[in-house]
């Protein structure tokens, strides 16, 4: 395994592949955040919207992002876009559900209090809704980033020619290079851990952690 990683460093592939995987995860994840959270908050806020969209969400939810692979290739070809799309599909619904759930679990008394203080709708969103949902959203972001990292490896096995997932499938093609396969697995594990540590640091921000119980 150490030999495998040393091999990658020697050929200048380590940085390339790590950057490629991080690039796809970042964009897939960020796009999912940009779309899923506002839509989720809106659906959660309006009960009728939730009743309307819930069935379709529940149908789409059990479909593995990997089942989208053939469609991703047909729509986006083989390249970064297909991989980013697969990661987006993997992240979008979990984030959407987290956002819906976060709005619905705001205690009614907060909203009523806000209204009694005469807050306008925009103020209500900014001063009550937003701080109330943040702690739950951060938990959702953490879980979803884990999913994104899981999906990138599978996406790179089919659709691209760089990245840590590609490293594994390419090593299989190269014959008896299982050292590279294990090297790829170890790198995926370490980077996944670092990503989790990064997003967990958000939990330590004081204004975000008002709802956590004190240790």
């Amino acid at each position: 395994m150490v030999g495998g990683i040393a091999d990658l460093v020697r050929h200048g592939l380590l940085l390339k592949y790590v950057v490629a995987s991080l690039f796809r995860v970042t964009w897939g994840f960020v796009l999912a955040v940009i779309f899923a959270i506002p839509i989720g908050l809106t659906i959660g806020w309006y009960r009728r919207a939730q009743m309307a969209f819930n069935p379709i969400i529940q149908i789409l939810r059990p479909i593995s992002p990997l089942a989208w692979i053939p469609i991703a290739i047909l729509w986006f070809g083989v390249g970064d876009l297909a991989a980013i799309f697969l990661i987006f599909m993997g992240c979008f619904l979990p984030l959407l559900l987290t956002a819906i759930n976060a709005v619905q679990s705001i205690p009614l008394v907060y909203i009523n209090a806000g209204r009694n203080f005469g807050l306008r709708p925009a103020e209500l969103v900014y001063r009550v809704l937003y701080p109330a949902v943040i702690p739950k959203l951060i938990v959702g972001l953490r879980i979803t980033l884990g999913i994104a990292w899981l999906v990138v490896v599978a996406a790179e096995m089919i659709a691209v020619s760089s990245g840590l997932g590609f490293l594994i499938v390419d090593a299989r093609n190269a014959g008896n290079r299982y050292d590279l396969v294990v090297a790829g697995m170890v790198l995926i594990g370490i980077i996944g851990l670092l990503l989790d540590v990064g997003i967990r640091s958000l939990e330590r921000v004081k204004s975000f952690r008002w709802s956590y119980s004190e240790d």
Binding site: L15, K16, V19, A20, L22, F23, T26, W27, V30, I69, P70, I73, L74, W75, G77, V78, D80, M157, I158, A159, S161, S162, V169, D170, R172, N173, A174, G175, N176, L202, V205, S207
Partner: protein
């Protein structure tokens, strides 16, 4: 600066950093820019997977980079046939090396592609465990054999052998497996044999746990597996480009069949710059013996394809009889027949 702004700034900075690094390290800008050139000037993308049945694709690309006209097409490596097929259907690639039965099945299902040339002849084998219980083909009765795809000639060859040995079609259990996995599976005893294209039989042989039970040609004279298909719209709009491609493949085939030094050079540059396989493995597959896989003559012949089609119908993977001229276009191979091998001496240059 508020904390929120700091977080947003960090996120945006990361997004820019990782995008710029990716663009610098990984993106093939020549391929990206190619998509934005006018259609008449765009280079076509040719899909291949890293097997010796498709060696003419990287060889043509490598040598043509030194020819007067420069590179002819953009080669694109895939890891499996399903993705290749999807990219071909959606016009993300315009030509591809796929297995012959898959090409026939796709045309039968209404995909507008044509077979214009072959990739190779021979070069597939059935491999069993060395010192294992399987001594002859009849010993495979009731055992599990791995094949690359239900639409593969490697599957059909098993049916041909079963017929010769008087075995029933269901007397061997066939499982579809990704070619890179079969050597490991054979060594671990998960399968009893595999029927695959090179270099996977060579890999098992080189590692010492595999023994060739028979070569495809033993039961199928003039065996062929991977063939070159091109989208019909490309044939209609840019036949000259298709001709250049077929000519190039023909020249590479003749070049590869010129002798051992040529094969060894190909094993070296294809292994290092294209397939990412050990050159020693490809050298084994290409030279032990030399006729293990051949690269000429590669013009599509009706008799060969009729044989494949009839076997497909017989074994249940094709449901209607389609004729040779419905799925082939022999104009290009006819013209390519006057081509000669590349004037390129082995080992005179390194890839740019």
């Amino acid at each position: 600066m508020t904390l929120k702004k700091k977080i947003l700034l960090c996120a945006a900075g990361w997004l820019v950093l990782v995008s710029v690094l990716h663009g610098y390290l990984n993106v093939n800008w020549a391929a990206v820019l190619n998509d934005y050139r006018p259609p008449a000037k765009r280079k076509i993308i040719v899909a291949y997977i890293p097997v010796t049945c498709q060696l003419t694709c990287p060889v043509t690309d490598y040598i043509s980079k030194y020819s007067e006209n420069g590179e002819m097409f953009l080669p694109r490596m895939f890891q499996g046939f399903p993705e290749m097929k999807e990219a071909l259907i959606s016009n993300k690639v315009q030509a591809a090396f796929i297995v012959a039965p898959m090409a026939i099945a796709l045309v039968a299902q209404g995909v507008r592609i044509k077979v214009v040339y072959l990739g190779h002849r021979y070069g597939s084998a059935v491999v069993v465990r060395k010192n294992g219980p399987v001594k002859t083909f009849a010993d495979l009765r009731g055992r599990t054999v791995a094949i690359p795809s239900r639409f593969s000639d490697e599957r059909l060859i098993l049916f041909r052998a079963m017929k010769v040995w008087g075995m029933k079609p269901d007397s061997i259990k066939m499982v579809e497996m990704a070619p890179p996995d079969v050597s490991g599976a054979l060594a671990a005893g998960a399968i009893d044999a595999f029927s695959m294209g090179e270099p996977f039989p060579s890999q098992a042989e080189m590692a010492g746990y595999g023994r060739i039970l028979f070569q495809a040609r033993d039961y199928w004279p003039d065996y062929m597996s991977c063939i070159l298909v091109v989208r019909q719209d490309l044939i209609d709009t840019r036949p000259d480009v298709v001709q250049v491609l077929v000519d190039g493949i023909a020249r590479s085939g003749l070049w590869l069949d010129k002798g051992k030094p040529y094969r060894e050079d190909a094993a070296d540059f294809v292994g290092r710059y294209y397939y990412n396989q050990k050159p020693a493995l490809l050298r084994w597959a290409l030279t032990k013996p030399m006729n293990r896989v051949m690269y000429s003559p590669l013009a599509p012949r009706k008799a060969d394809f009729d044989l494949v089609r009839d076997l497909m119908i017989e074994t249940g993977v094709l449901h209607k009889k389609i004729e040779f001229d419905q799925y082939t276009d022999t104009r290009f191979s006819d013209k390519a027949s006057i081509q000669t091998a590349w004037k390129y001496d082995p080992g005179i240059a390194v890839a740019r």
